[in-house]
């Protein structure tokens, strides 16, 4: 299974973007992002709190649709998924 993880703005600066990942079957959104972000402490701390939960302000999307934090630990990733993780938007 191959999925793509895209970080944006400050998260991109800390962790890179368009990262191909090969999660194990049964991996959830939360476990996937934790594993990738965990490669760099500053990036991990920008996205997760001390309990390993997403900071309240972090936005997570799967294939262009928002996923609530409460569901990220149960929503399983599938082959070809595009996962996006970003801070609050600031366009306009």
């Amino acid at each position: 299974m191959i999925v793509k993880v895209r970080f944006f703005a400050r998260f991109r600066e800390l962790l890179g973007t368009d990262i191909p990942a090969e999660p194990e079957n049964g991996a959830t959104l939360l476990s996937l992002v934790r594993a990738l972000a965990g490669k760099k402490k500053e990036g991990y701390d920008a996205i997760f709190d001390e309990h390993g939960n997403f900071h309240e302000f972090v936005i997570v999307m799967r294939n262009g649709k928002r996923v609530e934090h409460g569901d990220a630990g149960t929503v399983k990733v599938a082959d070809g998924d595009e996962i996006a993780v970003f801070p609050p938007v600031a366009g306009g």
Binding site: I59, M61, G64, F86, V89, A90, G91
Partner: protein, 139 residues
């Protein structure tokens, strides 16, 4: 026309194109890079999702305010002070709908379209905080 792009646009041409039959008012919003002691501004977007979200906002505004035409062009990349960031052109039969529709679109863009701005300064740079911190983002 709903776009995220690096190039600037010809606002005059957009105004001309917005004058559909029945138009009594055209309102243009032009957001520009302000001189907040910065050298430049860098803008980044989650492109496909940003365009889809702006299309949704344009549709909502068209229905709610009976708009006759909507253009939204949000620029990305590196922009200098005074350059256009966001151009919204709307037309309607009367000015109340045109003004209200334009205002609705810009406020919704700030809430939910995945675009970010970094102010570049002589000392480095700083990301602009969103106005809708907690829970912001596409619905």
């Amino acid at each position: 026309m709903i776009r995220v792009q690096t190039e600037d646009v010809d606002i005059g041409a957009l105004i001309t194109a917005a004058k559909k039959p029945g138009t009594g008012a055209v309102v243009v919003f032009d957001g520009v890079v302000r001189d907040d002691d910065i050298t430049e501004m860098e803008l980044e977007a989650y492109g496909d999702v940003a365009v889809a979200e702006m299309e949704k906002i344009a549709h909502e505004a068209t229905v709610q305010f009976r708009l006759l035409h909507v253009d939204i062009i949000h620029r990305i990349g590196r922009l200098s002070v005074g350059e256009n960031i966001l151009i919204i052109v709307v037309s309607a039969g009367h000015r109340p709908e045109a003004y209200a529709g334009s205002r609705y679109i810009i406020e919704e863009i700030k809430k939910s379209v995945p675009i970010w701005k970094k102010e570049l300064t002589r000392d480095g740079g700083r990301w602009v905080a969103g106005e809708h911190g907690h829970g912001a983002g596409p619905r």
